[in-house]
Symmetry: C2
Subunit: 296 residues, 2 copies
């Protein structure tokens, strides 16, 4: 018979640290106690739900890995590095193997980013993972609201790989893109120099158009992007699909020859006004990609 | 048409603070930034799900209030006071009024405990609220694992009121107990002196037998409780039902005349051995209440 305790036992080895420079009280009590770090704490919450954020036939290892990765992406987008996480897991599986597999996916990503699980909750219901991430700024916090007219717009990698991975998975087609969907790599190595040089920053989770749109709205500016300069996987819909987990940032042109920044993709420029114009063959493209919204 | 943005707008007034002694960056960016407090942070996660933790016909105000209250209870059980929360909300309502009502319940409890909402996420699906609570110790952190043989066992209020409230709600019966179920009061005023005097502490969310059982297990001791000394609402099943959100703590008999502690209910004593014996009419009662588990 399965019980909350059986399930929590699967996670126990991940939270078995008696005393630590970071965590004073780990799992097994009512709450975790985190040692004060004398550094401002960066925190975000991200829910990943079956049939909404990942397909019904996803492997539990991949559900765990992906749910944590996409939550970590919000820290990278602030110029912050991850330090610990907690998880609210809902699952209707009655098979303890499911939880062991989930835990192994969790362990893989904890090890990959050298972060700790400090606690969480488990309850019965349709599979959903609420991941709480915590970290600290590399240098300074980079907001969405500080893009300036004349700043260049960069993305850290190609768009549409996650979208393609999901299509390939659904079509039972073996492809390297499937890893982009289930095991996206979060560019913390880039986040480090972005934290030093960028004027604004966001992760591309809901699609470039929506996410760059958020920078424009909060910075009260517009943007012009050049279609030919955007690395895509398939077609123009890669600009609005999401599931990319690359970073989009803006930065003064004075930094354009910086050794790190010059390796990213410069896709356009911040302009006065509002909204985003896509330029293709020197003319404005009419494109109505709204980006991802789980309610639409 | 409803969208994540429409919904987030309902919450906006709760997170509209530009700069603050606690929060440097609130909602509207990728993550919140919390100013370092030079105090160890206490953190817990609690999921409340429709049809599991609250009935399907619950009011959105009550769903919000109750979900936050039961999560705060874990802080009280550590001897900690609450400072801020974040929320992962899942809902399938397409009615913006639902979210406005949810927000008003949320606002009520934020105001009651003088705490702040620092961020969260919203996604489409069956109603579920993942509440992340954050706070700091009043004095010292009180663990589950430090009860000593000879310590007295206290509870801060009667058991079974929440259970009765749920029964009355389901039977469409007006009763004062309904508030105990939907709007439980978390005894932070008691948590303050418990933090000074208690050897161990837990909140009674899964039923006294299971929760005191957790103290016994982690402290490697047993307990003897006297049925006649336990304030109950209905019958012996109040000892294992849960939904109480009172605190159970143990404390050395040297503190039994303390002005605060003497106001709580002394229900028994920590003994050597393991497990809990219930004494009624001077003999041991055979009682198999296992306590709440959402998987059983």
């Amino acid at each position: 018979l399965i019980s909350e305790l059986n399930i929590l036992n699967c996670f126990q080895h991940l939270v078995d640290y008696k005393s630590d420079e970071l965590v004073l009280v780990g799992s097994g009590d009512d709450a975790a106690v985190i040692k004060s770090q004398l550094k401002d704490l960066v925190h975000s919450v991200d829910i990943s739900k079956i049939n909404t954020h990942f397909p019904e036939d996803s492997q539990p290892e991949n559900i765990a890995y992906r749910s944590v990765a996409v939550a970590l992406s919000d820290l990278a987008a602030m110029g912050a590095y991850p330090s610990f996480i907690s998880i609210g897991l809902t699952s209707n599986s009655n098979d303890i193997e499911w939880y062991k597999k989930f835990t192994s996916g969790l362990e893989a990503i904890l090890n990959e980013y050298q972060i700790k699980l400090i606690g969480g909750d488990v309850t019965f219901g349709e599979v959903s993972v609420c991941v709480n991430v915590f970290g600290y700024a590399y240098d300074k916090i980079v907001l969405r609201s500080n893009a300036k007219i004349g700043d260049l717009i960069y993305i850290t990698g190609p768009l549409g790989e996650g979208r393609q991975g999901l299509i390939d998975w659904k079509n039972n087609k073996k492809s390297s893109y499937i890893k982009n969907f289930f095991n996206p790599k979060i560019p913390f190595n880039k986040s480090k120099y972005i934290s030093q040089f960028a004027s604004s920053c966001i992760d591309i989770s809901d699609g470039l158009m929506k996410d760059l749109g958020s920078i424009c709205k909060l910075s009260e500016v517009g943007a012009e992007i050049v279609y030919e300069d955007i690395p895509i996987t398939n077609d123009i819909n890669d600009l609005s699909y999401g599931d990319d987990y690359k970073i989009c940032y803006t930065c003064s042109p004075t930094h354009k020859n910086n050794e790190f920044i010059s390796q990213d993709f410069c896709i356009g420029e911040i302009k006065s006004g509002n909204g985003i114009s896509i330029i293709k063959d020197n003319s404005i493209v009419d494109f109505n990609g709204n980006g991802w919204d789980s309610f639409e």
